[in-house]
Structures are given as C-alpha cells and as structure tokens.
C-alpha cells in the first residue's frame, strides 16, 4: 500500500540505526501513555473504501439531481472540465507552498497570474495569493484597517447587508482587539439599511467601513458617493464582492474602494458542501505592505531570465513572529489555481456571458414569482442574480414542499435576520433553464393553493 518497507529492509534499517525493534524508537514517550489501543474500524482496501464512500455520498441529494435555487454565499455554476484536469495534475496537487522558487516556478507563475486576474477583475492594483474563504478575507480586512490606524480608530461600520457569516467571522477575529466597537448591523437595525444611513455612522474614529456588492440580498448600487463620504472621514472602504457579477458591473476600484474581499468559489470551484473555497483579497497598492497573506512578485535570475518568487515575506509570521499582523501560512493555493484556469478559459467573453445569463434568468424568475399571488418581490433596486421574496408561509415549509418536487429552494433569511421571517433569498445562475424556473413557479403557486 502506502508503506513500502519489506521485512528484510526494516531489519536492515533497524540495524543501521542500532536498535533491535521498532518499539525501541519510542523510549522517550512516557511508558504509561505508550501504544494506546485505538478503537477504529478495521482497515479497508481501496475497493472497499470506494464502495463505502460511494454509498455514503449517495445518501445525499446533490445539486446534480435537485434543481438548485440556493445561493447565499455559495453558487451553483458550470465548471468546464479543463479546470479539474489542470488542478488534478500531481505537479500542482502534490507540491508544497513554493519556498524553493527554482523548483516551484509552475505554482509561482500560476499564483502571479491569479493575482493579476483578480486585480484586473476587481479593478484594484494588487491582489494577494488568497485567504481561506470570503469570510476570513473580510476579517483580515478589519485586521488590516486596525493596524493601518495603529489601533487608534476603534470603530468598524458594517452594513447589515454583508453576508451574515462574514460578519460573524469578522466579529470572532476582532474579539481579540480591545476597545473596538462594531456598528451598523446590531440586532434591531434594519436589514435593508440604506448606504446613506450607513454613512451617518461613519465618524473620525472609524477605521473600516464594509459593504457588499452585490449585497447579501442581491442588490447593486453605485457606491461612488458613499466611498467619498467614507474617505472624508479618513476611513478605509472595503467592498465584499461576487466575482461573477464583476464581469458586467462597474468595479469597486472605480468607486474608490481601498480593499476588495470576496468568496472566489463561483470561479470554477465546486460547492463541495462549503469548502475548500477561496478568499479573494485585493487592495490599493499603498496598502500592499499592510496586507496579510502571501504575495508573488516578478523578478530575474542571474542570467536575466524572468522568474517569480514569494515577496515581501518580511510581513509574515515566519519572519516577524509575534509582530506579524496575521498568522496565515498555508492558504488556498490549489483553489487559486482553479480560479486562474477558470478565468483564463472563460476569459473576457465567457465570464461576461455567464454573468449576463445569471442576470437575465434571475430577472425572468423574479418577475414571474412576483406575479404569483401571495408572493411579494422585496427588491425594488437593481439586482444581479439573487433577490428576496416575501412568502405566504414559513420558508422552511415551502422548501420542504419544493424538495418533494426535486427543487432546492432559496435561503431562509429569518435564520439571520429576526425581522425577515417568511423571506426567501432566491439565487438563479446559468445552470437554471427557463423550464427549471417555470417549474419553480408552478410549485410555489401550488403550495399556496395546497
């Protein structure tokens, strides 16, 4: 299997070491703790393990069988076959973080291209090599802002329309920094707080303002004036984005955002029950030295050949130790590669096409659902591929009924927003056909009658 030693090799090796048994290698381990009996199921062969896991996987109902209208931070998109073919190559899959550039140019150049693609997609000047996911990238933006102002600005303004999980993780991360206050999304604040009202919370003590675009409810709006207000108070503006949407929308860079974070999963990464995904993090160049995470830079070897290395490593934990502002080490290398392959394959035309397909289909669905008696479209502002519908019954009940018809219904907003019971967040992507949407509408209507 995976341990290649033959009996005679083992004997020879023990002899070379000068011990008489394997057990003797562990004399330093306190005797009373040595060699515990583990209670694990008996070892399976490859054939058996595949059968067992196939069985377990088949217990699930996946988006391969269900028609999926569930989004809320993870989206069902088509992934071209070439993406998996590339990232399955052992040369990428089984390499470590590229500490030795001479034998890691493949990973390094791929990450450099990833950084370029993300910077250009978001309209920012620099991107790092990735964070764990959208939520931890959002938290790292707050950490960056805290250090940017040397801890002197104690307020973070968070739009309630930022993904609830991002806000939860940001709070977890920031709980280590004393004297901070996080405002904007407190219990009781309106989930649909306007950016004008949000701007009123920004003061000279604010380090970071975070909004989402399209926001958690799918809405899109011009943030230019808002960005100006944030900057008038001297604060940094972070925008959490959906990368697919940016194929057709003005970029946060054009609005003047200082930091862009986001979930990179829509860029060629399977839903995989929530991970591994990809934390996008891009910023203005003036913040590059304060950014956490790995960075790949272009340089040359002695012969003048172009090559790539990890750069500005003096910011990182392995050099700065307790003075580092982030502890990140392993990131999401392979997922960053997947998204680079996806963006290269779809390119200028393909990604725009996917974005428009999502947009048109979502608008078709919204209009149609809005006309079903009992259902009320809550989104009057422009939206991208997700929208809120007020439902005539608890969302969980409706979703149960949808499931009976092979449909994975939308997200129950009441789970995160106490005021939004009976509100469903519906996502539509290029994977949904007109027929899927029509079936959804029929079953929704039927529920109301039934």
């Amino acid at each position: 299997m995976f341990i290649p030693h033959t009996d005679s090799e083992r004997e020879e090796m023990l002899k070379e070491i000068g011990v008489s048994s394997m057990a003797e290698l562990f004399n330093a381990v306190p005797k009373n703790f040595r060699f515990p009996k583990l209670n694990l199921p008996p070892a399976l062969s490859e054939m058996e393990v595949l059968a067992e896991l196939t069985e377990l996987a088949s217990v699930n109902e996946s988006t391969r069988e269900l028609i999926c209208f569930l989004g809320a931070g993870a989206y069902n998109h088509y992934i071209p076959a070439a993406v998996d073919a590339v990232i399955s190559r052992g040369e990428f899959l089984t390499a470590y973080t590229p500490y030795q550039p001479e034998v890691s140019q493949g990973t390094l150049q791929a990450v450099f291209e990833y950084q370029s693609l993300i910077a250009l997609l978001t309209g920012m000047e620099v991107s790092n090599a990735s964070h764990y996911d959208g939520a931890t990238a959002a938290a790292e933006a707050a950490v960056l802002a805290y250090h940017h102002f040397r801890g002197k600005r104690a307020r973070i303004v968070l739009s309630p329309a930022v993904n609830p999980q991002y806000r939860a993780v940001l709070r977890t991360y920031m709980s280590g920094y004393t004297g901070l206050e996080i405002v904007g999304d407190e219990a009781g604040s309106s989930p649909f707080l306007s950016v004008d009202d949000l701007a009123k919370l920004v003061d000279m003590n604010t380090s970071l303002v975070m909004v989402q675009y399209p926001d958690f409810f799918g809405r899109i709006q011009d943030l230019t004036a808002f960005a100006q207000k944030v900057h008038e108070a001297g604060a940094l503006l972070a925008v959490a984005i959906n990368p697919t949407a940016l194929a057709m929308l003005k970029t946060p860079g054009e609005f003047g955002a200082d930091i862009v974070v986001g979930e990179g999963q829509p860029l060629g990464i399977p839903l995989s029950y929530g991970g591994p995904y990809l934390g996008l993090f891009a910023a203005k160049k003036e913040l590059v030295r304060k950014m956490a995470g790995r960075l790949v830079g272009e340089t040359q070897d002695e012969k003048g050949q172009r090559g790539y290395v990890l750069t500005l490593t003096a910011r990182e934990q392995h050099i700065r130790r307790e003075k580092a502002t982030s502890n990140i080490c392993t990131n999401q290398g392979l997922m960053a590669l997947a998204s680079a392959v996806y963006l290269s394959l779809l390119g200028k035309h393909g990604l725009r096409k996917v974005a428009e397909l999502c947009y048109h289909k979502a608008h078709y669905a919204a209009e149609k659902i809005g006309k079903i008696p009992g259902y009320e479209l809550q989104t009057s502002t422009p939206f991208f591929h997700e929208f809120v519908v007020k439902t005539p019954a608890p969302v969980a009940d409706i979703n149960l009924h949808l499931l009976d018809h092979g449909i994975l219904g939308g997200y129950d907003l009441g789970k995160d927003y106490p005021g939004l019971d009976n509100h469903m967040l519906i996502a539509v992507t290029e994977m949904n056909t007109r027929e899927d949407i029509d079936v959804l509408c029929e079953v929704l209507e039927e529920f109301n009658h039934g």
Partner: protein, 487 residues
C-alpha cells in the same frame, strides 16, 4: 525560454468556452452600473491547457520525487482520496442544504470527528478551521474564552518555546496575548528551570509542539504540563507533528488541553502548492463548550434498522464562527478515506515507519553533518548545513545543490535555534532505496563543499531557472501582469 503569461498568450476574439444562448427574455442591464471593459485574457481551451501543463512541468512534486520538507509531512497523497472527494454526492452538495438532504455528509463529518477524538484522546473535535494556523487561532481563542469564563482577567501571557513555528507567536499576538519566549535546553527539550521561573498567575497558557520542531519527543512533557497546569494555565498542542504519534501516544491522554490537527500533513490531503489545508481542533472535556461551530451532531439516535439523524449544532459557549460554512469538507472526505484505509493497527504503522525512516537517514548522515541534538529522533531531525573546514558554504547552498541531484531540499533556516538548520522529514511512504540515494547525495555534496564549493554556490544548475533576485522582486514589486488596456 520562460513560459509566457496568460495575458501574453491572449489573442483578441478567441473563445475558450461556449455557453448556451439565453432561453429567457433579456432584462434591461442596470443603467450606469455596467462595466466598460473586462480585462480578462482571450484564449482557446488548448491554449489554456497547454499553458498550465507547461507551468506544472516547472514544479517539483511528491508525485515526481522525494520531498523531505521538514515540518510539512510530505507523504504520498493517495489517488483514491481524489476520487472519493469528487463523488458527485459530496462535490455537488450546497453547504446550506437542509440537513435531511445531506445526511451522508453529516455522517462522514461526525465519524471523522469520532476518529480524530479516538486518535488524539480529546473529548470533542471541531472540523471548522481551514489550516494549521487557523486551528491555532481557534485554539488560542478557546484558551482566552476559558479564562474569561473563569474570571481570570490577569492571565495575559502566552509562553512559547524558542523552537516554535512562527505561526505560534503570531497567533497569540492576534488574540491579544503577550508572547513570552521559553528557551530550550541542551537536549532540545523545554528548559524546565526557565519555565518554572515564568509560571505564575499571569500565564494563560503554553503553546507546545511535541514532537518539537527539532523532531524530538519532549522528554519532560509530563513535568512541563504539570508546571503549566499547576499555575492555572492551559496547554496548546501544535499538532503539526502528529504523524509521529499516531497509535504511539495520545496528546489528550498526556494532558494537552487543546490541539489542532493538520489533515494536510498527517492525514494525507494534498498540499496543492500552498493549500487548501484543514486544521480541525480537539479539546479536553473542560473546553468542549467553547469550540467553534457548527459541528456535526446526532440529534436522534439510530436504531437497528435506521441510521441516526445528524445535524449541525453550535456548542453552548462557542467562541463563534471562524469561517464560512462547516470547514474544508472536500479535505475531510480525503482524510476520512485515508483513515478508513489504515484502521487502528495501520495508524501505529504510519508513525513507526515515519520514525524508522527519519532515524535511518539520521544514522547515515550524522557522521557527515553536525546534528546538534543527536539522539533517537521522531519523524524528522535537524542538522547543520555548515562545515568548519569549508567556510563560505551555507545551508542554502546545500539545499540548492540537492536540486541538481533531483531532490527537493529539506526545510532550511527553521527552527531558528539551530544554526544553518536543515530539517529533514522523510515520511513513512518513502522506500529504502530513495533514502539511500538521498543520503548518498548529501554525502557527496558535503565532499563537494570541501573540494568544489563553487558547485554549491552556483547551484542549482539543472533547474529551468537559476537563483532569483529577491531584492529586485521586493524593490520593483511587480505583482500583476501588464495588460494592454491598462494605461
């Protein structure tokens, strides 16, 4: 010739993937919000596949050769892991699906939590953290939450041995602890006298890596834990080196309070050129309620005929969410596959052979290279990459010269307490012939260091690119390809 970038390969008008035409009426695009240009490259599918294939060929990998990177446990990543993680029932489930539609996922997570508990001796496990450092962050948060709950307001210090990985002090600082270093003694253990002097009621805890980063089992581990517990602190275990302890000793039994696992080291999930990892955290009974969440739980016991009903649950006094959704599920499937294939006896065999391989290399190299803490090692060992009688040759030169012999270099310049460190971790999946060839190469390089040092200084000779100018990279800061539309 350097491989062009995707932007250099781009040709205006070329299409890589076609999508269906819209089957719904077109909606009006949002006025004033539309983007003017989308600066992405234009390539065919073959262009893309060939480009990334070329790039892959510039990488060294486990599949291609021996990768003895200390502290990283570069063992073989079984191919079956990749197949199970891609089973459609796993790969295409949405993280927010109702529990009744993902009982397979939840059962797998629950079972993996149970396996990790059994292997480590902890009372509960959360699979949430994304990597080792993220697990450390989670663990240190738990320590803080515990002291807060106990009303221990003055426990502000985290003790960290000088041999620790950089993520340990960085993590503690992130959580607001004052980092206090603890020296090592001449045998490579924590210096007990120094530790004793630091133990008082301001100590929140100690972050201990065992086996430590010298590859040595902490000989006074029980005394160290007693000292910390005696002064009211908790002990964090950096589980990066757990490979040496599988079936050998359980950190939970020894008395560690909290520890992270690296599924991407110990449990064979691939490193992917820098992640994704997976860093589950295990805790002793008194910390169970503080775990992050949600975690898989049984909500209705099963019967003889029916499987139990699983769901996700948040621990009572949870530190909160540390990432989106429920951990790196795809990595969990791989680790589960791996553990299933080894079972209990297999676990012990992994550790035994990892330790056998490391000691074998140590035995073959100790007469050529100076090993500062020379005793039976665990899964790795650290030697010095310098020779008194060959001044000018450094660990870095030896590392680079190894590439000419078609080996990946060991970790170098870590741990910081060894001068010119070369940290070698062979793992259990390497055979004797590979180890012999590697030892021979290092012995030859030692000879070259004395006779032809320029061979080392100018190494590597056979790689696609030579030593790169890191100063230039940091000075010019070119972090993004040039794009024609950029001004």
């Amino acid at each position: 010739m350097a491989e062009p970038t995707v932007y250099e390969l781009s040709s205006a008008g070329r299409i890589g993937v076609r999508f269906p035409e819209p089957d719904v009426p077109l909606a009006k695009l949002p006025a004033g919000l539309e983007r003017e240009t989308l600066p992405l490259p234009e390539l065919s599918e073959l262009d893309v596949v060939r480009h990334f294939t070329h790039l892959s060929q510039l990488n060294y990998s486990i599949d291609g050769g021996f990768y003895p990177l200390g502290s990283c446990t570069m063992k073989y990543n079984p191919k079956i892991n990749e197949e199970t993680a891609r089973l459609p029932g796993f790969a295409f489930t949405h993280p927010l699906q109702p529990a009744e539609t993902v009982q397979g996922n939840l059962a797998l997570m629950y079972e993996l939590q149970e396996y990790l508990k059994e292997i480590s001796g902890f009372a509960a496990v959360s699979l949430q953290p994304a990597a080792g450092a993220h697990g450390e962050f989670t663990g240190v948060m738990i320590i803080k939450a515990y002291h807060d709950a106990m009303g221990h307001t003055n426990r502000t210090k985290m003790l960290i041995p000088d041999s620790a990985h950089g993520t340990n002090p960085a993590t503690s600082a992130m959580r607001g602890f004052e980092v206090v270093g603890v020296p090592s003694d001449s045998r490579g253990n924590v210096d007990l006298t120094a530790l004793k002097a630091l133990c008082d009621d301001t100590v929140a805890g100690l972050m201990l890596t065992n086996p430590n980063t010298l590859g040595l089992f902490e000989e006074h581990v029980v005394e160290v834990l007693d000292l910390i517990h005696g002064c009211g602190g908790l002990v964090y275990g950096d589980g990066a080196n757990l490979n040496a302890l599988l079936g050998i000793a359980r950190p939970g039994d020894i008395g560690f309070d909290v520890m992270h696992f690296n599924l991407h080291k110990t449990f064979s999930t691939p490193h992917g050129g820098g992640g994704p990892g997976s860093g589950p955290v295990g805790v002793a009974a008194h910390l169970v309620d503080f775990l992050p969440g949600p975690n898989a739980a049984i909500v209705e016991e099963g019967t003889d005929e029916e499987a139990p009903l699983f769901d996700l649950a948040m621990p009572a006094k949870s530190i909160g969410r540390v990432k989106s959704f429920h951990g790196h599920f795809g990595m969990l499937v791989r680790a589960f596959t791996y553990i299933s294939m080894y079972g209990a006896d297999g676990m012990r065999k992994i550790a035994e052979h990892a330790v056998l391989n490391a000691n074998y290399l140590l035995a073959k190299l100790r007469n050529t290279y100076h090993v500062p803490h020379d005793r039976i090692c665990m899964h790795e060992f650290v030697m010095e990459g310098v020779f008194e009688d060959a001044p000018g040759v450094h660990a870095l030169d030896i590392a680079k010269r190894l590439m000419d012999y078609k080996f990946h270099p060991p970790t170098n310049y870590f741990p910081l307490i060894v001068h010119e460190a070369l940290m070698i971790e062979p793992t259990e999946t390497e055979n004797k012939q590979t180890l012999d060839a590697f030892a021979d190469a290092l012995i030859k390089i030692a000879a070259e260091a004395h006779t032809q040092p320029e061979l080392l200084h100018e190494a590597p000779h056979i790689t696609p690119i030579g030593r790169l100018d890191e100063v230039k990279a940091a000075k010019d800061l070119v972090l993004c390809c040039w794009y024609p539309d950029q001004n």
